[in-house]
């Protein structure tokens, strides 16, 4: 599936269905169990490793590196009844500056991997990107990849971690939602609202955008507004893309219709599913 859209499994109408899994052919329970096991194994690695670098060489899920975060700064979820703003020039310049600092820290292998993933230049690079994302979205783990695959993914993880290290603010980014086959938009929203505690994980790397207007789609589509400190800003020269890390945990906050600043003096009405990053309680600094 394209990595510029997300799947959210709102197809389980009850908690029991989620536990049973295999709703609409999607084994939610198995994927959740894999994720829980991976997080437990990572916690064990963290506890035993002599350094964060050693731990990160063994972990299956990249940790957040947002140690320099000011949670009050930046953008947050839009309050119901208020207008969804466009990204400001100030926020672009700040995000661009922070990203430039991070890019200066990328080694050539990381820069090559990240560039090929975000801006693929040929069919093979697109195939690599899609295969990597499909692997994680289908419940695959880092360990199940071969050595080249693991190194490639670690280069992507490392690139994003360096961006997170330089980031000092919250972001509000958008992506489009894939409604599961056979489910109407109305059904989907009803089920999502009925399961407000049903958290979601974006398993693969996700391409989002700071500007909702830049996302292809029409007013009948569903869009996701995500509040997060994670990922790397890749916008520049009038663009405002943002790449989110794999295995990003989100909690459902709200779903509803919002007026969106169209950047041309007017507004459009769009349905947003609002989600917020779930922070993991992880070691984020070197052990002294």
């Amino acid at each position: 599936m394209p990595y510029d859209r997300v799947n959210i499994q709102a197809t389980a109408t009850t908690a029991q269905q989620a536990v049973d899994g295999n709703v609409n052919g999607d084994n939610i329970a198995a994927r959740a169990a894999t994720l829980v096991a991976a997080r437990a194994a990572d916690a064990q690695i963290d506890a035993n490793a002599a350094s964060m670098q050693q731990a990160d060489a063994q972990r299956s899920i990249p940790r957040a590196r947002t140690d320099n975060l000011n949670e009050q700064a930046g953008r947050h979820l839009t309050d119901p009844g208020t207008e969804v703003p466009r990204p400001s020039i100030f926020s672009h310049r700040t995000n661009r500056r922070n990203a430039n600092r991070a890019i200066a820290r990328l080694n050539p292998a990381q820069a090559a991997a990240f560039s090929s993933f975000v801006s693929p230049q040929n069919a093979r690079q697109r195939s690599i990107r899609d295969t990597v994302n499909q692997h994680f979205e289908s419940g695959g783990t880092l360990d199940q990849l071969g050595p080249a695959g693991r190194n490639f993914v670690r280069r992507l993880d490392g690139s994003i971690q360096k961006a997170e290290r330089e980031n000092d603010r919250m972001h509000t980014v958008y992506t489009r939602l894939n409604v599961p086959d056979g489910t109407s938009r109305r059904e989907f929203l009803a089920r999502l609202r009925a399961n407000p505690s049903h958290n979601q994980t974006l398993a693969g790397f996700t391409r989002a955008n700071h500007d909702l207007n830049k996302i292809e789609g029409n007013d009948n589509d569903l869009y996701v507004q995500i509040e997060t400190s994670r990922g790397m800003y890749v916008g520049g020269n009038g663009s405002s893309g943002h790449v989110l890390p794999r295995n990003l945990d989100l909690e459902f906050v709200n779903a509803g219709e919002f007026d969106v600043d169209d950047g041309q003096g007017g507004t459009t009405r769009k349905t947003l599913i609002q989600m917020r990053e779930v922070r993991q309680n992880e070691r984020t600094t070197a052990r002294q």
Binding site: Q53, R96, S119, R124, Q134, N151, N178, E216, G236, S239
Partner: protein
């Protein structure tokens, strides 16, 4: 050929031979207490090396919104 094996072949074709574990060469936290570029230098570069335009951000690669619109 499995997807994992095909990915290995594609990565080796794209990036060359990969050592069994070259994580040391992709270290995550080198000297990250000191900024490598000044504020002025970081401000100067407005273009992203990873994205030429939002045209790359497409919804045109296939319509995945397959649910009937009942509203």
């Amino acid at each position: 050929m499995t997807d994992v094996n095909r990915l290995e072949d594609e990565l080796k074709g794209e990036f060359g031979t990969v050592e069994a574990d070259d994580f040391e060469a992709t270290e995550v936290y080198p000297n990250d207490d000191e900024p490598l570029v000044s504020d002025e230098e970081a401000d100067e570069q407005d273009a992203s090396p990873f994205e030429s335009s939002d045209a790359d951000y497409d919804g045109a690669a296939g319509v995945d919104f397959t649910a009937p619109d009942e509203d």
